[in-house]
Symmetry: C2
């Protein structure tokens, strides 16, 4: 397994400073087209992106992956809410000299994609939102309990609990993703600290409990929403709610898949994402 | 407009005889792969397939389009129920010497795809079901009233009423589809007769009102379900119901689209359909 050679696992971590804070990022891919900026899930760092997906997107466009404030090798203190995280991520994108980009937001990163586009619409061309939910999503009210349950498990089981369904097929595919996250051995990112984790738990929970402030009907960018059939954390149906509110969205559900939908079908996702980013408008 | 040259508009109609009935079909495409057999919507004939879609699929595989019993240039009397239509279509496929194929079923054709796979699972590899619903779908109870409303309109408005949303964007794209259906001038199919239309109205309505006999959870083939955000005829949510029952389905919703979802986004559909047929399993 994993005999395939991936570019992403050898891309060096780079740094950019914004207001005295040093942010970690990695960049690769075919130049020329609009870059896609990737925003990671709860506790996730630059090492949590599946190299199949990153390399697949990078064959067609520049891909830039960032650690947000206080996460991985980025400095600063992780905000306890999505809007402040979004303001930080916008500053990082601007500091990188990007005037127009696409966003790929996974889970918490998918919340940021919604908020960032609402805050600064002119910066974003298209969005891909995977395993996420709109503001006010009820399933997030019990996010802290779910995290507690997950953190009680050994590492591999924790990963499978969050990202796979109970089926053997789903577990095997997500286990293969997990293996790919460790192909890279050098220049790895630091794991999320307890401070970052606490702040992110607050941000994720508040996305569900705080008043809704973002009007999704005003997001006119094309949006590709990807979700699994059985994502308990976000509630799969929340993606349909989000889809109905967005005026220009495509919604794709994958079968027998939980929160790690795009990790379970990485080749299919890459084709659909590249097609959406290249052609859909 | 329509400067593009399509192969499908020049493909001759062929005939195959089954139990004394002559069935019309057209065949084109790259040989080698599993063929996809296309099953048409209410009143639709061989001339109602968008050449963008047929040609797009045909770049990668053999495409075979058939007129079912009593429809277009096919002889015989149209059955008044989906199961008998499905038995006929299976006979035509077998008469063509096909031992394994994929199905692309649009609307009524999507009902047939479900029933045919249930009747003879070993004949079918993968299914694509566009703008359809599972047995028992409530929206179909008022199908005769919807047809009456549609038939009261002039031809172009009738087509837009059925396949487009009320938006200018959707109407313009579906109007472009309608134009492409008339690029072909020679060797056209006969329009559906009143007898065929009456039988199809019965079959469509009964799909919603008759007892559910097909167990979708037993259809183990990979299924790609495509639907528009606003298909009133089928009720867009019925595709989600169907998706949940099928163990191995991908569901895609297109934005601002009604019953003609794949006609409105033909290039995107072709990419997603080819990707699904080539790689997903």
């Amino acid at each position: 397994m994993n005999q395939q050679v991936f570019n992403y696992v050898a891309v060096p971590t780079q740094y950019v400073e914004v207001e005295g804070i040093r942010y970690a990022y990695r960049s690769l891919g075919k130049p020329g087209k609009v870059p896609v900026v990737c925003l990671q899930h709860f506790t996730g760092t630059l090492d949590n992106w599946d190299p199949v997906i990153v390399d697949g997107l990078a064959t067609e466009r520049p891909v830039i992956l960032i650690d947000n404030t206080g996460v991985g090798n980025s400095g600063g203190q992780t905000p306890d809410n999505v809007l402040d995280m979004s303001r930080d991520a916008i500053k990082v994108i601007s500091a990188l000299g990007i005037q127009k980009c696409d966003l790929l937001g996974f889970s918490l990163g998918g919340f940021l994609a919604q908020a960032m586009t609402s805050l600064k619409p002119e910066l974003f061309r298209k969005l891909i939102i995977v395993g996420a939910a709109p503001q006010g999503a009820k399933a997030l009210h019990s996010f802290p309990q779910l995290v507690e349950k997950a953190f009680a498990l050994p590492p591999k089981e924790q990963y499978l609990f969050v990202f796979a369904t109970k089926s053997e097929n789903s577990r095997a595919k997500i286990a293969a993703t997990l293996e790919r996250l460790y192909i890279r051995t050098d220049d790895r990112d630091q794991s999320a600290t307890m401070d970052a984790i606490k702040a992110q738990i607050s941000a994720l929970t508040r996305w569900g409990t705080d008043p809704v402030t973002i009007d999704l009907s005003k997001i006119t960018q094309p949006v590709l929403i990807v979700q699994g059939s059985d994502d308990e954390m976000m509630d799969s149906a929340a993606s349909l709610d989000m889809y109905k509110k967005l005026p220009h969205a495509v919604l794709i559900y994958y079968p027998d898949a939980a929160h790690g939908s795009f990790n379970q079908y990485p080749e299919l996702f890459v084709e659909q994402a590249n097609s959406f980013l290249n052609k859909f408008d």
